[in-house]
Amino acid sequence: MRDFSYYRASSADEARHAALQSGAMLLAGGTTLLDLAKCGVMEPETVVDITHLPGLGRITVDAGGATIGALAKMGEVADHAGIRAAFPAVSESLSLAASAQLRNMATIGGNLLQRTRCSYFREPDVFPACHKRNPGSGCSALGGVTRNHAVLGTSDTCIASYPGDLAVALVAFDAVVELGGRTISVDDFFLTPGNTPERETVLERGEMITAITVPASAAAKNSTYLKVRDRQSYEFAAASAAVGLEFEADGRTVRDIRVALGGVATKPWRARNVEQALTGKVLSPETVEVASRLAMEGAVSHGANHYKIELAPRVVARAILKVGGLV
């Protein structure tokens, strides 16, 4: 691990300013940054510690929705009574993520910006070819061990999946990222790899996430996050779904439904085609099963990750049936 200098920012402006220098990186909980620095993937010259900035850890929930400060800890948000009541999927996505120790360290802003778990990305010495790390160098994952790679949103240059859970719940409920000067929906915040897999978000140098806001909705209140994996705990998703549902007054016709997928796509994946197929329909196991399959429209597998195309719609279907009261 290369030597770096450490700078503790005392105001948001100071942090943004410091982050403008080349080689500077913001440091929140450090659970992604230090991990990847030790792997030789991220090489900060200066780390700008933002954990002492005042006011950025606040969580507020009111009738309009929730505002979660960028420095709020994963564990705090998961356990927040207001979040649990109004956004169960958000709370669950966090309590099912990582481990208790990590959730106590890691922040919400850092969580959105966690990097892929592609093994090839994480081992530069052995696998120099990685477009995401080093644009133009190739992609070692293609033709390699791909069990955890994405089937949706991939390109010829990169098939790495976005591993996080929280962002999946956020994208389902139209959450917005506050960047100080501007705001952007979580869906638009993340980019698919295309020809520039090194660009994962629209964040510009010197920009900082200050908060995330999630508008309240009936669907968000009746929501769940379902995460499927081989190990019962402390593993990234093989496939996951964040789903929220609001019925019409008849209690069976869908008024509003939100579906997003994790573990299978290059970014947190909103499945609007599934939502459209079910909106206005009477919810039944059959309609749900057929609609859930639409989530895999355009999916492409690369060897060992083929199972995700079969698994993900089943996860979506179960989550919908659960919030619909059918299982």
Partner: protein, 762 residues
């Protein structure tokens, strides 16, 4: 501040052999007072790190270390160009080629991740940073990534592992019911909590090595032979070990590198392997595959078993993971044939990992037996009992003890097996299919001569001194219990000193042989020390017990007295004071009378004197039967183990509490093996791509269900002096097939290749 309440030790009988004494060194460990190898405060340390190959096969043409040497803090770079002047050390059997040079950083690259250079610097961070500046030029040659690679071929037959009797092929062909299956297990790793590494320091031609070790004497011998110094000049210190599971029994190349660097620099050196290097610097369990054919009558009597197995080994050493190890002894069968091959691939040489051989072997035969049961439409428990082996058909010898029948029946009773419905997919709870399965396991009783010293001190304390080690299995505790029992004193009046090659010699803590071996020596030494004390007490004119007229003395409740209350009773310290003695020191070993110094050295530092399970009159083994319940979410293919009952015959248990925890540990590792663990190899360059704990998954607490363990053993004095058989290895053997069988019962899908990950079930 009170850190914790004082512990209660249960009743007084805990302090005797067979009592449930809590872990003797437990407080030290949980309060951070136990010092591990990399934590010794040695002055003036330099830090070494390893640079590993990024190609699977070929030659190092050159190493350009100029920039690294110029980097801040760098003291030294070692490469294949450095002739360290080392000699090859003895193998496990104590055999050693004459004057063969040893290159811990070889020029020849045999696998991806092999160490080929080392950087030593003032700090670890500086060494790591400098290592990135090293430029290595290779000449790459074609490689074989795994034994599934078409270039791997069939490998070579291990003649010593070929076994058979009767006419298996003919009996199989004649059998009215036949099944056949191929079973495979992937590369698996130890993943001990404490990674490998060492601190090493020279004083002239004396070397001290602080290194986690399952065998302080055997590893000390390697250091002495590598460096051509007398054995006595090496001191290997290893009082606490954070788990070994078979990986810490031998000195490894990185140890030689650190010791050489330290000698050359004239400074102590610390070398800690990174977690990923713990997947490449030494081998885990080899990948295996085995084809099993079983022939039976229509009422389920076995007629023949034909077994053909193979395991991966490296291109530079043969290490067989013996897939036919359990196959011949679990059941009664008159016709049997087994063969095992090793297939060289470009990987680090595999090694022993909990239950070596027996473990993958049991996965094969115990899966196949259930396949046969379903083919016959018979309860798998009934099939097993019906083919119960009354003696060892392989050696022809009687069992010393074998309570596998009791393990099966009492385990079944505790599990509620009789409530099972036979048909696959017939038990369900909502979305979840429920399945039950059985897996039997076994592990041989092996033993080696050992030596121990007992010191009775003037203050009344008793010391047990041995170079044996404790990696968590409980050596400290049971040795303290043994001495406490012999002297009739509380356990806390005993001190135990372990884990130092300068102390009396002991068997390796491996193959479940240490407890049986070292207890024999400690018991012998303690009894001899007590006899000496009795002799003095009855004869020395200063002794208050002299005039009792007794011809022996009793030791109980911390007091020494003549039998039947004649005369005074004294504590140990009072008696020692009366005798005017500061110390009584007795050394005893379990070698035959009159063993030479040379034979003693050989006994502690090689496997040459190990007694196998069938070398005497009997065939001696531990046995177990696991009953597993799984819940499978059929939509997702996820398997959760919801309940396990395991019954064991390990003879007499020296400390049931610690034994139970070893069994549970084995079972938990078995859950990992069944459902999660697999080294994933990139076929293009032979690299294991998930060599870290984020990607190589072992069970978390959430994956571990309620585990009930039952002992059905009886003391087996044919197997060991105090009646115990081995307990550490057997716990894992048979767990994976029990789970695979339960998955079949739940889903109707037979998974023959581990681990049972979700994509295999959807």
């Amino acid at each position: 501040m009170t850190i914790m309440e004082p512990r209660k030790h249960g009743d007084a009988s805990d302090g005797t052999v067979g009592g449930r004494q809590t872990r003797f060194e437990g407080n030290l460990k949980v309060t951070g007072g136990a010092t591990y190898a990399l934590e010794y405060p040695v002055e003036g340390l330099a830090y070494a790190i390893l640079v590993q190959s990024t190609i699977p096969a070929g030659r190092v043409v050159s190493v350009d270390a100029e920039k690294a040497l110029a980097a801040p803090g760098v003291l030294m770079v070692l490469t294949p160009d450095d002739d360290m002047g080392l000699l090859v050390a003895s193998d496990w059997g104590g055999n050693r080629p004459e004057n063969q040079p040893y290159y811990p950083l070889p020029r020849q690259v045999q696998y991806n991740g092999q160490s080929i250079a080392a950087v030593v610097a003032e700090s670890r961070e500086q060494a790591v940073e400098a290592a990135r500046l090293i430029c290595i030029t290779y000449e790459q040659t074609p490689h074989v990534a795994s034994f599934n690679d078409t270039a791997a071929g069939e490998g070579k037959v291990m003649d010593n592992l070929t076994s058979g009797w009767g006419d298996a092929e003919a009996a199989l062909a004649d059998a009215p019911v036949q099944i056949e299956g191929e079973y495979s297990t992937p590369r698996e790793y130890h993943v001990a909590m404490e990674p490998h590494g060492l601190t090493v320091k020279w004083d002239g031609d004396q070397i001290t090595v602080w290194e986690p070790s399952q065998w302080s004497h055997g590893m000390a011998r390697s250091y002495s032979e590598w460096f051509g110094i007398p054995y006595e000049n090496v001191r290997l210190i290893s009082p606490f070990i954070g788990g070994g599971f078979g990986s810490k029994g031998a000195a490894l190349a990185h140890g030689a590198v650190a010791a050489f660097a330290s000698r050359k620099l004239g400074r102590p050196v610390k070398l800690a392997l990174t977690r990923p290097q713990n997947f490449t610097n030494y081998g885990g369990r080899a990948a295996t595959r085995q084809r099993i054919k079983i022939g039976a009558t229509e009422d389920g009597i076995l007629q023949a078993i034909v077994h053909r197995g193979a395991s991966e080994t490296s291109t530079y050493a043969d290490w067989p993971e013996q897939t036919g190890a359990a196959t011949p002894i679990l059941y009664k069968v008159e016709n049997f044939s087994s063969q095992h091959r090793v297939v060289p691939v470009n990987a680090v040489t595999p090694g022993a990992l909990r239950g070596p051989g027996k473990n993958p072997s049991a996965f094969g035969i115990e899966s196949a037996m259930e396949e046969l049961a379903y083919k016959l439409g018979m309860d798998p428990l009934e099939l097993r009992l019906k083919n119960y082996a009354d003696h060892d058909y392989q050696s022809g010898k009687p069992w010393s003890t074998r309570r596998l029948r009791e393990a099966l029946t009492e385990g079944a009773e505790a599990f509620g097996w009789s409530k099972r419905s036979h048909e696959p997919r017939s038990m369900r709870d909502g979305n979840q299919l429920i399945g039950w399965g059985i897996g039997c396991g076994t592990f041989p009783v092996i033993q080696a001569p050992s030596e121990a010293m007992i010191r009775i001190l003037g203050n009344g304390r008793v010391e047990v001194v041995s170079g044996a080690i404790d990696m968590g299995q409980g050596t400290y505790t049971i040795l303290a219990q043994t001495a406490a029992e012999v002297f009739g004193i509380p356990v806390d009046q005993v001190e135990v000193h372990l884990g130092d090659s300068r102390l009396p010699g002991a068997a390796i803590a491996g193959g479940s042989m240490l407890a049986g071996s070292i207890l024999g020596a400690v018991h012998k030494a303690a009894t001899a020390a007590r006899d000496e004390l009795i002799g003095l007490a009855l004869n020395d004119e200063k002794s208050p017990l002299r005039d009792t007229g007794a011809n022996t003395l009793t030791f109980s409740g911390g007091r020494i007295a003549a039998p039947r209350d004649q005369g005074p009773s004294l504590t140990l310290s009072e008696l020692m004071a009366a005798l005017g003695r500061d110390e009584i020191e007795i050394l005893r070993n379990t070698l035959p009378e009159g063993a030479t110094a040379q034979e003693q050295h050989q006994a502690w530092t090689s496997m040459a004197k190990v007694q196998g399970p069938t070398m005497g009159e009997y065939s001696m083994h531990s046995w177990c039967a696991h009953f597993a319940e799984v819940r499978v979410d059929e939509d997702f293919g996820t398997v959760r183990v919801s309940r396990i009952v395991s019954a064991f015959d390990c003879g007499r248990l020296y400390n049931p509490r610690l034994v139970e925890s070893q069994w549970r540990g084995g079972i938990i590792m078995g859950i990992g093996q069944a459902l999660l663990e697999e080294g994933l190899v990139d076929q293009r360059n032979g690299r294991t791509v998930n060599g870290n704990m984020g990607d190589y998954l072992v069970p978390t607490n959430a994956d571990v269900p309620h585990i009930e363990v039952i002992s059905v053993g009886v003391p087996d004095y044919g197997a060991s002096a105090l009646g115990g058989k081995g307990v550490g290895e057997v716990g894992i053997v048979g767990v994976a097939p029990a789970i695979a069988n339960a998955v079949f019962h739940a889903t109707g899908k037979r998974v023959r290749d581990l681990p049972i990950t979700l994509e295999k079930l959807i």
